[in-house]
Symmetry: C2
Subunit: 206 residues, 2 copies
């Protein structure tokens, strides 16, 4: 039964692959990305420094597994936020806010996610089919209505995605702090920035 899975069952330790990913995430949360060494992960999981190499080809592959979990959780967070509103524009904004909020709440994880993507010069494949990228695209498509070309849709999605990523990486910068408090907090700030992006200018019906 379980033999069909590429990641099969436990032997000596239990499910060490799983334990390693969890240990990695624990280290990420508590000590940050700089402390995330393979040896530290092995230590945290209670195994020798060489043990991980029976489950992951190298450190990068372990990080890939961590990043994958991150993308799945980001997908879920976006999915949740889409139910917040029935107005197209609001839904789009809340999608953006949810994206950035996820990145800000899990900064180390988000960094691993994007570092992995940058190493491969590609976003995870799943995103194009059912993942976060697709959610953004669908939301834009719904807002844009019928008469919009595939190319326009793709470009708008990319534009929105880039803006989200940029804001995710920069919204913590000290230079913006005074503006944040002036606007009444982090979320108000994010909404205001997204509002000034005018991602909807192209399609807006109103």
């Amino acid at each position: 039964m379980t033999l069909a899975q590429p990641e099969a069952r436990p032997y000596h330790h239990g499910d060490l692959s799983r334990a390693l990913v969890e240990a990695a995430r624990r280290i990420l949360e508590t000590d940050g990305p700089a402390a995330l060494s393979l040896r530290a992960v092995a230590r945290e999981a209670g195994v020798s420094p060489a043990a991980p190499y029976h489950h992951f080809k190298d450190k990068g592959q372990l990080l890939d597994a961590v990043a994958h979990e991150g993308w799945v959780e980001l997908d879920a967070a976006l999915m949740r936020s889409r139910q917040d509103s029935d107005d197209d524009r609001r839904r789009m904004t809340s999608l953006g806010v949810a994206y950035v909020t996820f990145a800000r709440d899990n900064p180390a994880l988000y960094r691993v996610m994007y570092d992995c993507s940058r190493d491969k010069d590609a976003l995870p494949d799943q995103m194009k089919e059912e993942g976060a990228y697709c959610q953004v695209r669908n939301t834009i498509a719904h807002a844009a209505g019928e008469g919009v070309s595939e190319i326009d849709l793709e470009l708008a999605t990319i534009a929105a995605w880039c803006a989200g990523h940029g804001l995710a990486e920069m919204s913590g910068f000290k230079q913006f702090e005074s503006l944040k408090t002036l606007l009444g907090g982090e979320e108000a700030f994010l909404k205001a920035v997204f509002d000034h992006l005018g991602m909807f200018a192209k399609f807006d019906r109103g």
Copy 2:
């Protein structure tokens, strides 16, 4: 024994601080960010592994110096691009294209620049006064005209900046390649994405 090192030199080596920064940039360009170790920089500069510590507190401070050069050159690139057009909207787009092009032409340098910023949770201070950020802001201000609040200006600048950074980091992703060739090349792609951002929606007069 002062061998024919270039430029004016204070003490033993010549200007080792300068030589180290140049060596670092050489390594960055040829072997990428992963190969950029302090020891490698010292090797490249023809000096012992401990020598850099008389000029930089630690590796991070050397990278800061490299990053600073990067920001100065980015400022210059944006400055050049502003003279390309006299139409506000075109100028804004060409600013964005110049930004992303710089990042794409110097990927390793750009990465160092942003890694340094992220470590301090802040953009370089000079940017707010006369640097690239200020150029974007001024361009937007000119386009927006008189009746625009400081806050709106700031928000629009942040939005544009985030979009530029996001696109700089993601425009190389494989998922966008087909779209790029379909649109007729990298620059056309960048312009199209910026166009779909509609950063001007808020202020556009026409």
